[in-house]
Symmetry: C2
Subunit: 470 residues, 2 copies
């Protein structure tokens, strides 16, 4: 335990020691049975007379906080209590109304249900732990001479070079390492871009229904968020608010509806943005898993006006526990982005960027994706078949040809609260479609994630799901 002394304090040095040790005993930092530091050592450490310390110890002993032991030493006998709760103090800090209004989206790590149909999870058992471990150990060795330094605020240049090659191969995107910024995930990339491109009070457009954390993070920046409807061709470009300075879209596989933004809409969106001087954030969060063979080109490839920011993440491809994503940005934004990353979080952890770089360069990512595609394609087909086999369920699966979730329209009842009670009772965990509506009346449905559920469990889980509506 660290002891503090202050010559300007009006209490004697001995009383200061006494007060601090007594406080540590009563608030539990010094638990019963613990041993006080020998008085000689304390006196030396603080450069004070030993008697100052023994006086304090004697007083603690006299008052029953500690007991002397034969052979020397003092043992704590006082009882622990909790630290003082200051949250009821009239001066206690409170969040802004804006901050207080934000709710968490989805469930946390803590929950491991019998049947997990939560959206946003991936198969733990697919994670190539042995390969990742080898790459981590190599990264630590490589970093040995750099632990005294901050890393690159945009992420290590080696990883950014690797990502340019990987993006060219996997998504047909031509870019340079200078234009890549490594982030803590796709949402974080959007947060950084919004700070660089928008001012408080500016308007941003998001998909409705959409991914609630995007709306939350924009609102935390003081940005006005407008929800724009999504139909069977994706975002309704004609419904974009004229004032929007930024549009966030998920063109490959809309979250949550699963629709692909059509070619016509892609071109219309890019024209709209170029005309207005607005930015388009293309969040390609789960483009790696496709169950049909004709993907459309990313918006980034169609962009002739420099309005698109392409955002990707390794959360679905590999693991959400890694916390790595990236943005491909226009060159004119790079200095501001670098400055903000340096000021706020000093960039991604170098151990992670070096590990990921080795993992991609050595071919582990490609191998993992080949394996994962097979597993998820199997689950996708199994979910479709299981839903189709239900008779009279009232479920309508929305068309979905990619990613790790499929959305079902369901009857209106039970409501989310009752559904939650019933599903929890049966060990089933779900994501409601209603939660993805932030700006308009919610529609009943299930965002059915099949990333985490073993294929053989799917028929039972879907049957159980249907039973909740009977």
């Amino acid at each position: 335990m660290e002891l503090f002394l202050d010559n300007d304090d009006q209490r004697s040095l001995s009383t200061q020691l006494y007060d601090q040790i007594r406080e540590a005993i009563t608030d539990g930092r010094l638990p019963p049975g613990g041993r006080l530091q020998p008085s000689r050592g304390v006196a030396q450490g603080l450069a004070i007379a030993r008697s100052t310390v023994t006086d304090a110890y004697a007083r603690l002993t006299a008052e029953g906080y500690v007991e002397g032991r034969r052979g020397g030493g003092s043992i704590v006998v006082g009882h622990a209590s909790s630290p003082p709760d200051l949250s009821e103090a009239p001066t206690a800090l409170a969040p802004t109304a804006q901050a207080a209004a934000v709710r968490r989206y989805g469930v946390g790590l803590e929950s491991h249900p019998r049947y997990d149909l939560t959206a946003g999870r991936v198969e733990t058992r697919l994670f190539p732990l042995a390969d990742w471990r080898r790459c981590t150990n190599r990264a630590l060795t490589r970093l040995a001479r750099d632990f005294g330094y901050y890393g690159d605020p945009a992420g290590s240049i080696e990883l950014r070079r690797t990502l340019t090659h990987w993006l060219a191969r996997s998504r047909g995107i031509a870019t340079t390492a200078d234009q890549i910024v490594v982030t803590h995930g796709a949402s974080h990339a959007t947060d950084v871009m919004a700070r660089v491109l928008l001012r408080p009070g500016d308007v941003a457009a998001v998909e409705e229904p959409g991914y609630p954390p995007i709306t939350s993070l924009l609102r935390f920046l003081g940005i006005e968020v407008v929800g724009v409807p999504v139909d069977e061709h994706g975002l309704v470009v004609d419904a974009l608010p004229a004032a929007a300075r930024l549009v966030h879209v998920t063109p490959s596989h809309q979250y949550p509806l699963g629709v692909v933004l059509s070619r016509q809409r892609r071109i219309a969106l890019l024209r709209w943005a170029a005309r207005r001087g607005a930015a388009v954030i293309e969040d390609d969060y789960d483009s790696e898993f496709r169950y049909q063979n004709r993907p459309l080109e990313p918006l980034h490839r169609l962009d002739r006006d420099g309005v698109v920011i392409y955002v990707g993440t390794f959360s679905k491809m590999l693991s959400p526990a890694l916390r790595v994503g990236f943005a491909v940005v226009p060159p004119g934004l790079v200095p501001a982005i670098t400055a903000i990353r340096q000021a706020v979080d000093a960039g991604p952890p170098p151990v992670t960027t070096h590990t990921l770089r080795a993992f991609i360069e050595e071919g582990h990512l490609d191998r993992h994706l080949r394996r994962a595609r097979k597993v998820y394609a199997d689950r996708y087909r199994t979910v479709r078949a299981a839903v189709a086999s239900l008779s009279d369920s009232g479920f309508t699966p929305l068309p979905s040809q990619a990613g790790l979730h499929m959305t079902l329209q369901t009857p209106d009842t039970p409501d989310d609260k009752e559904l939650n009670v019933r599903s929890t009772r049966h060990g089933l965990q779900l994501s409601s479609l209603r939660r993805t509506y932030q700006h308009s009346p919610p529609q009943a449905g299930i965002v059915l994630g099949f990333g985490a559920i073993p294929t053989p469990d799917i028929p039972d889980a879907i049957e159980l799901l249907a039973s909740l509506y009977r």
Copy 2:
């Protein structure tokens, strides 16, 4: 290379393939010497007739982009060029004026000078790599069942519990795991707190001179930042602007001046904040290294009104490359903080939090700090002696009893630009005091970091530094 086809495209399928491959050749994604995928495989992958592919390949061959090889296969012969530069497009995205005005503070990893007196760096060779590696490998094994999930937005509960014990021991701070939020460093903790506590247009007070990234990140949030002078007792509490809703201070070892916030000022600051309903962020960024034995109590310990947020970091204690810090927050703010972390970055990487937890629990942190304190105490004494031995240098070292830097007042000339030219010529890297003034006329000086320079090099480095002013 990924190929895209679109039935709604007005071009034929063959032309779509031709256009994409030609574009990949001209922009360098398909380098000369590369081999096109066999037409049969492409046709199968896209579920189209093989002749559609061979037609496209024939056209590319006819136009000289590829060459057929004996035994089959087509080899790229076209020349690479850079991806199109859209930054000059009239529609190209630009940062806001606010974002464009922010400059990077300090230098990056890339620079490894002969003599490194940069502030903010620590000794690479002290990093306990073997211990950290063992803890990392154990953390990866522990995480094996959780790679499919997001972690806790506030950081793993196990690390937060460990931090409560460690804070009690090392800083006398009594808190609970629920009140701890693990961040990407001290600045990031301030960023999160500002988002939860302030709205755009609100006023925040920072120390002047101070740490420029704090001013930058607050301004990125639309917050008005006021610099408050620092004298020999620390922050001048009487000079705080009445409108300030948040005050950022470095009480243990002011950055950059090195002064300790006096006990009277601490009490005055807490009273001021409680009266105004303002928050105090206590940034204890390098409190672990102290060369005198009587530290003052943290503001957090003196707080009876719930106005203090205590912020710590492992950047100085261990390594800035780890990107881990934390905040101790009032309970009333926890839900909003958790929601914002979930929305923006989904929390710190679980591998890092599990590793750090094992590292602390197994006693490696305490052992490392004991070693590091000896090394840095030695450097501190060597710097003092070297500066004192200079005759007529015009240098005045400011009193400093802690941390990894000491500030020197210097003559006004040369100016920073000329100083930079001269120091670079001699392989000396420095941090200027002038850069730490953001709100008032800058004073000439050097923020002399001794974290990264080997002790035997210090006398030569200081002598060299003095020579730059002659």
